[in-house]
Amino acid sequence: MKQKAFKNISIKQKLTAIILIISTLALLLSSISFMVFDQIQIKKKMVRDLQIIADIIGNNCSAALLFNIKRDAQETLSAIRAHQHILSASIYDADNNLFAYYQRSGTDTLFLNQIMQQSKITSSIMEPPSIEKNADTPDLPAASHVFIKDNLILFQKIIFENEFIGSVYLHSDMKEMKSRLQGYMGIVAIVILASFLFIYFLTANFQRIISNPILLLTRTAKKVSSDKDYSIRASKESDDEIGFLIDSFNEMLSKIEMSDNALKHISKELQNQTEQLKKELKERKKAENKIKKSLSEKEILLQEIHHRVKNNLQIISSLLKLQIRDISDCSILTLFQDCHNRVKTMGLIHEQLYQSNDLSNINFEEYVRSLTSYLFQIYRQKAANVNIHIDVDNTRFGIDTAIPCGLIINEVISNSLKYAFPDNKKGKIDILLSNNRQKTDKSNNGHKYKLVIRDNGIGLPRSIDFRTADTLGLKLINALTNQLHGNVSLRRRTGTIFTIFF
């Protein structure tokens, strides 16, 4: 948590905190090491001082020891009073007998004894004397000391003229060192506090060297992102890593600016193009409307034409009908009747045409039905017992195909009705139209349609070759088939079968 909190504070605060922590730690460390060093030095000094005192005592007591005058040694020891830190002192002779003893007034004797017992030196001093009175005791060092519970115990041999004549024991407290340590601690606390404040003020000024360029960069970045202005540049103040960062930032900005400009340019171009396209679209729509208008106009016109053609053909048909009434000669009547039929056939097509949706195609089935019903009406006396069967796929034909086709059907059916069924003979006529588009029959010769018209009447006389026949009807059939780019065949097995491929 604390780490996260530290991560989120500003660089300025981080720098200050880091410098403060490090410098305080360094100060603390150096103070502690100084204090430890000082402690060691003080201890050394204490030992040295105590050794000097022991030396002096030893020197001053050597005669007393040699001449066994305890009073004098006691007097010498009493001079230790001047050294407040020495709690007790003793002198032992060469046989380790207590020779003189001093104890600072007010010192706890039991405490002294405890300390003495703990010190190994004293116990070694207290070892039984060697048999040889004046012999040196080489197993003991000339001087040794030990620190026990804030007490320094020092033992020193008294050597006079290369002879061991006794030993001095000194017991010192370490109050001086303790008070010195406390004083140091106070000083260290004050120094650390003072330097903490001093470093804080220094840091407040010096951290700007690092934090200011970063803050400036941050501000620039904020401005760029809020204003969307990529022409702003951060100012560089130094050639260090931050300077490099600022350079990179500026470079990035200029790249963004460049691509931004390019984007703007492209979007402008796109806008222009879109507008142009819109314009074009508008124009096209206009043109389309115009075309539609003219198309509908043409349709109306075409309808009108078909209507008029039909009307004219109707008039012709009516005129022929009127004429037919006045004809008494049978052969002429037949001629007129044929003419009338042919005109009617064409008129029916035009009628269907102007009634149709697209004015160019007619539903051929409907047309065939109305044509046959008309023809059956005309020849009702002869065809009373003839049935008709029409199987025309839902085919639509244009006028160029419908008129020849209609005329062929007219000729064949009229012929059948007139001659195939004499004496009201029963019969059947089939009109079959099939689309050959899907079939790949070679006999088709690439023709799309197959039209079959057949009757089961008496059939054409054998003598008549329909290709070279002299009658108008058969001539027309041939001519119309040619017009359709087709071919026609005739079979006369049972009645008459006309098969036309076109």
């Binding site: 005669a63 380790n96 706890d108 004894n113």
Partner: protein, 182 residues
């Protein structure tokens, strides 16, 4: 009884426990001669002779003894194989009529005053530490005299004679001695 006194008693008891051998030391008390021999040996340690007193560095310190005495044997025990001021110790026995001029220390055992005076007057060289064993010894020109009182052996020193002899004596000795100026 007050507490500090109890503590002191304890301390004494403790001292007894840590000094068991010293408390029951088997050594017999020293005789007067032994003590005097030790003292004589110790005096030499506290006295500095001028360089002229020796012919070279190897020259020993000669201890002269006048008078027939068992003291010599005791002294020999102390001085054998010993060196003081890096010099060996040599003991010479003199008769009262000898011309004594080779020694550095002269112990006159005889209590006869006449002898003593004549020996001291006949000394032809300075730098001799004269040690005597009579009440008047320091008054007739001797430097050190043993005083025996109530089992304790002390000594007196005649400072004037000491200065005359041009010997240097440690103040520690002077501090322990009874000083006489004549």
């Amino acid at each position: 009884m007050k507490r500090p006194e109890i503590k002191f008693l304890f301390f004494l008891l403790w001292l007894l426990t840590i000094f068991p051998f010293s408390a029951t030391s088997p050594r017999a008390p020293l005789t007067e001669y032994e003590v005097k021999a030790a003292y004589l040996y110790n005096f030499i340690k506290f006295v500095q002779w001028p360089e002229e007193a020796f012919s070279d560095n190897m020259d020993p310190i000669v201890i002269g003894i006048v008078g027939d005495d068992p003291f010599i044997d005791k002294l020999k025990i102390f001085t054998e194989q010993k060196t003081v001021h890096s010099r060996h110790l040599v003991i010479e026995k003199y008769e009262p009529y000898h011309i004594i001029n080779q020694c550095h220390v002269l112990y006159i055992v005889s209590v006869d005053r006449r002898f003593q005076v004549s020996i001291l007057q006949r000394l032809e060289r300075k730098w001799i530490l004269t040690i005597g064993d009579a009440e008047y010894f320091t008054r007739i020109g001797g430097i050190i005299n043993f005083i025996t009182d109530e089992e304790h052996i002390g000594f007196e020193i005649n400072i004037t004679e000491l200065q005359k002899s041009e010997l240097v004596m440690s103040s520690q000795i002077l501090k322990l001695a009874t000083i006489i100026r004549e």
